[in-house]
């Protein structure tokens, strides 16, 4: 906020370039006194300075606004699933970068599935979405499901997409058809096992290829409307109420409003639409 030489032209005519600093009160005394004299005798400059003061005071009184909820959620998947036409190329590039990270972390190994409950081959559920509950619903058998439009919320996050690549993930297949209590069972048993820490190699069921695994991760992330605090540690190719589904298990770190928990999402393999959700505090 210093006055530079370039703004001290010796006050010829109407010294417009000095007025910003004059109004801000950052001019040196000698320049300010000279300007005071000019303004006292120049109606135009006096009028402008009065307007500028008024504007400055008005702007200083504007409140800082809260960011509307969801503004920065869904960064990646908004782009990936509904790319604005002019953004398609750019998104491809951005996602390629993310995919490179994912590929770099694709190691081979085997880990068994987390335990689940018995099959519940009831009639296929209609599209279900959820509003994840604020904190862990540790009660058994009640997944946090509700019904609303699957496309209602912006899907996933940039961070979510890439977080999937940052930790170890076990990829398995199961013949089970889970229901809500089955998902809750997955969450509970994972929470009881003290979810493995991130950083180790991912493990792949022998039947999972890298490309398939990546596509499945993206599908779950898109359908689950991931937020950035969640990190996938297991992905199961199974069914939810007989609908072919990917079931993603995530750990969510403790944060300001919630303790650490495990969350489980079921997302239809076809169309990646959200099916169901369960969570369990660690």
């Amino acid at each position: 906020m210093t006055t530079t030489d370039e703004t001290r032209p010796g006050l010829p005519g109407h010294p417009e370039k000095l007025f910003a600093e004059y109004v801000d009160g950052t001019l040196g005394d000698s320049v300010r006194v000279t300007l005071d004299s000019h303004i006292a005798t120049c109606p135009r400059c006096r009028d402008e300075v009065d307007l500028a003061w008024r504007a400055r005071d008005a702007l200083a009184g504007l409140p800082e606004l809260d960011v509307p909820q969801g503004t920065t959620d869904g960064l990646v998947f908004k782009g990936l699933t509904r790319p604005p036409r002019r953004e398609r190329f750019a998104w491809t590039a951005a996602f390629t970068a993310a995919a490179a990270v994912i590929a770099a972390l694709a190691w081979i190994g085997i880990r068994g599935p987390a335990s689940g409950s018995d099959a519940d081959p009831r009639a296929a559920a209609p599209t279900l979405t959820h509003a994840p509950q604020e904190s862990g619903s540790a009660s058994s058998g009640k997944a946090g499901t509700g019904s609303s439009s699957a496309g209602g919320a912006s899907g996933g996050t940039t961070e979510g997409a890439m977080r999937l690549a940052s930790g170890s993930i076990s990829y398995t297949r199961s013949n089970r058809s889970y229901d809500d209590s089955g998902l809750q069972g997955l969450a509970r048993s994972a929470a009881d096992e003290r979810v493995p820490a991130a950083g180790g190699p991912s493990s792949f069921d022998v039947a999972w290829g890298r490309h398939e695994a990546r596509a499945a991760r993206e599908c779950v992330a898109a359908g689950a409307n991931l937020d950035s605090t969640r990190e996938m540690f297991a992905l199961v190719d199974a069914r939810y109420r007989e609908i072919p589904a990917f079931i993603g298990e995530f750990r969510e770190s403790a944060h300001q409003h919630s303790s650490a928990k495990v969350v489980v999402y079921a997302v239809a393999k076809q169309g990646c639409r959200f099916l169901a959700y369960a969570e369990q505090r660690v």
């Binding site: 910003a20 008005a58 509307p68 503004t71 750019a90 951005a94 770099a104 977080r163």
Partner: protein
């Protein structure tokens, strides 16, 4: 208690393969970014889109961020450019949608839960200030950035920032007074310092 990583450290962490670092950057800067976009665009939905777009754009360009400017300065620059794009797009759409400008078709009323009637009036008046002046006003008078940083964000000389500030303030003052005329468009050939 461990200290928070700096922006530069987070950028390096992201570029070194830690995706979560970008999440932290977003959380850290979304408030200022959103407020800058909202004051520039005056519509909540547009500001939300611009905020997203700014972070998407930043993510794409992060590898080209050299660290020679503060991350905040760099992100502000990205955001202002996104806002300029949005305003250009809005103008094009207005031309297509409204070939005959309606009487009094100024900027629509801000739709944010922007509390007081006074701040609504100010925001509405601000939207009538030519956008290049508006950017200087928002960065300096609302976001409280210094002349030099505003100059760096807008890519113009410091003298031009001061000139735009003054002209913008006068324009805003007139708009607040209900004067619609008298706003000179940006023409700064003689104000480059």
């Amino acid at each position: 208690v461990a200290s928070e990583p700096s922006d530069a450290e987070l950028v390096r962490a992201y570029l070194s393969g830690s995706p979560a670092a970008f999440t932290t950057l977003v959380r850290r800067h979304e408030r200022r970014t959103y407020n800058l976009a909202y004051r520039m665009l005056a519509r909540e939905e547009d500001a939300k889109d611009a905020t997203q777009e700014a972070f998407v754009s930043a993510l794409r360009k992060l590898s080209s961020y050299r660290g020679d400017a503060a991350f905040t300065t760099w992100l502000h620059r990205v955001t202002v450019n996104v806002c300029y794009d949005a305003l250009r797009k809005r103008r094009r759409e207005d031309v297509v949608d409204q070939p005959e400008p309606a009487e009094g078709s100024g900027p629509s009323a801000p739709d944010h839960a922007d509390a007081s009637a006074v701040s609504v009036d100010v925001q509405r008046a601000l939207a009538r200030v030519p956008e290049e002046f508006r950017a200087a006003l928002v960065l300096h008078d609302v976001q409280d950035l210094g002349y030099e940083e505003v100059a760096e964000i807008l890519g113009i000389p410091v003298g031009t920032v001061k000139s735009r500030l003054h002209r913008g303030r006068v324009a805003l003052g007139r708009a607040l007074s209900g004067e619609h005329a008298g706003v000179r468009p940006p023409s700064e050939g003689s104000t480059q310092g």
